[in-house]
């Protein structure tokens, strides 16, 4: 059975049909990319699946369970993680604290235990801090551990978001343009990083404009255009699909 199933998903903002009757399914353990021109509805689709928006119609199932209409924090409990196209880093915190927030659900959030500094809670916090530092090494940010987030460069913050998402120990991770705004060297680093994440057994859903990266990483690709599904298949199939070539890649591709 597929890990994530989306059926006839639509959302309307007033008269604008941002996503229309989109259906697809994602098997566990693969890298699945969503591509399409600007305004095609890729981020909207992410926001629908991760609970930021509520769909107008349609179904979303995670591991067979209907999850449409659930709030983002309920989806987090079910192992769903994401990053954002426009950075959503907590600039009022240090880098490592941002990553530790990702482990929120795995920690004891009791207010009174925290106020009285109970040893068990402190010990667990210290462990998670170590874990967060290791994750920062994993994404290549070991130099920034105790840096304030607002003092970090843009490229580092993109990877910090990935580290925070990984701290959730997710089953499925949604990466919304992880390479946007990065230089070619940084893009290659993110490319390797996404591969490492997938190799760790986490299902990756990727929105990305960098075609080289998409073709390189993806097991399957979904093409959106004007909120509708235009095509779906392997990289090879998408590359040779006449509709995709006409609508998106251009006639020279």
């Amino acid at each position: 059975m597929a890990l994530l199933e989306v059926k006839d998903l639509s959302i309307h903002f007033g008269g604008v049909k941002a996503v229309q009757n989109v259906s697809f399914s994602i098997d566990a353990g693969i890298v699945y990319s969503v591509i399409g021109p600007n305004g095609a509805g890729k981020t909207t689709l992410f926001n629908l699946i991760t609970g930021v928006y509520k769909p107008t119609t349609g179904e979303i199932r995670l591991d067979g369970e209907a999850i449409h209409g659930k709030s983002p924090n309920e989806l987090a409990e079910r192992g769903m993680a994401r990053t954002f196209q426009n950075l959503q880093i907590c600039m009022n915190m240090t880098a490592v604290e941002n990553v530790m927030v990702g482990a929120h659900l795995r920690l004891d959030r009791n207010l009174f235990k925290a106020a009285f500094r109970l040893p068990a809670l402190r010990r667990r916090d210290a462990e998670v801090r170590e874990e967060a530092i290791q994750l920062m090494q994993f994404v290549g940010l070991e130099a920034y551990v105790n840096e304030r987030a607002d003092a970090m460069p843009y490229g580092a913050l993109k990877r910090l978001e990935i580290a925070r998402a990984l701290a959730m120990k997710p089953r499925i991770i949604f990466l919304d343009e992880p390479a946007a705004g990065l230089n070619p060297k940084e893009t290659i680093e993110v490319d390797h990083l996404v591969r490492k994440v997938a190799d760790a057994g986490i299902t990756v859903v990727l929105v990305e404009h960098d075609m080289k990266m998409v073709m390189n990483l993806s097991d399957r690709i979904l093409v959106l255009d004007y909120g509708k599904k235009l095509a779906e298949g392997t990289g090879e199939e998408i590359r040779n699909n006449p509709d995709v070539i006409a609508a998106y890649l251009g006639t020279h591709a």
């Binding site: 924090n73 907590c90 009022n92 959030r109 925290a114 701290a167 959730m168």
Partner: protein, 310 residues
Amino acid sequence: MQKKLNIGLLIVIAILLLVPFIAPNSFYLDLAIRMAINAMIVLGLNLLIGFAGQISLGHAGFLGIGAYASAVLPTHFNWHPLLAMGAGALITGLLAALVARPIFKLKGNYLAMATLGLGIIINITLRNEAQWTGGPDGMPVLPMSLFGLEIYGDKQWYWIIAAMLVFAVWASQNLIDSPFGRALRALHGSEVASQVVGVDVVRYKVSIFVLSAVFASIMGSVTAHYIGFVSPNFADFFHSIELVTMVVVGGMASVFGSLVGAVLLTALPQALATFEGWETVVFGAILMGFMIFLPKGIVPTLAAKFGKGE
């Protein structure tokens, strides 16, 4: 990093230990007690405003509930002062939760309006229910007693309140550096990011609002017993604004900023008394100066300047 000495807390303890010996007379000891009480209220308020990024313009109302619970219940119903204090805190907590829950479900900053209204309603209620509260004139408060012993005199009060302040600073520091505290700061930093990692944003906002309201209520009770008298001015709108100002001047999201803000703004009216009639104007000018030159507040600005976080 882990076993770092808590220098800030040690400094606070040192100052608190020194004050009774350098205070020349009971006027200054009284001032120190008021500073410490305000510092605790501001600490709670700063958790809400500075750390969680929410606002309350009605905190004096919660203070008023605590103060009047401690005045009314022992006087009219013969309750033990500690029980009355607990009842005040409970009523405040329930009221705060009742108001905050629906407000936080809305998008946007409706909390400012709601707390403003709530504070005014509490103040008017205290003024109008004269048969219980003494109306605009206020009413006397019976002394606090602990374990059968009456607390008496500035010295005794000072040590009790100093101990409470040390605990409040320590607990606030612990809270901020915990999973609960990180969730609060995260929802301030990016609400959507905190949601997608699993933070139940509404619940956390309500929790911290209730906590800071209960804090204010307990300090209201303490103030009532210490002064031995309550009046509706406790719950006055301007008092709420004064408390918010202490947070902002001292420094948002700064534990020691809360203390500095409370100390300065409690002392300032006394220091300006020589301006006779113009003290409010000078007070306002000083606040404007702070906002223009130290918009982040005193402690965070100084901390940044000397390259040292808290």
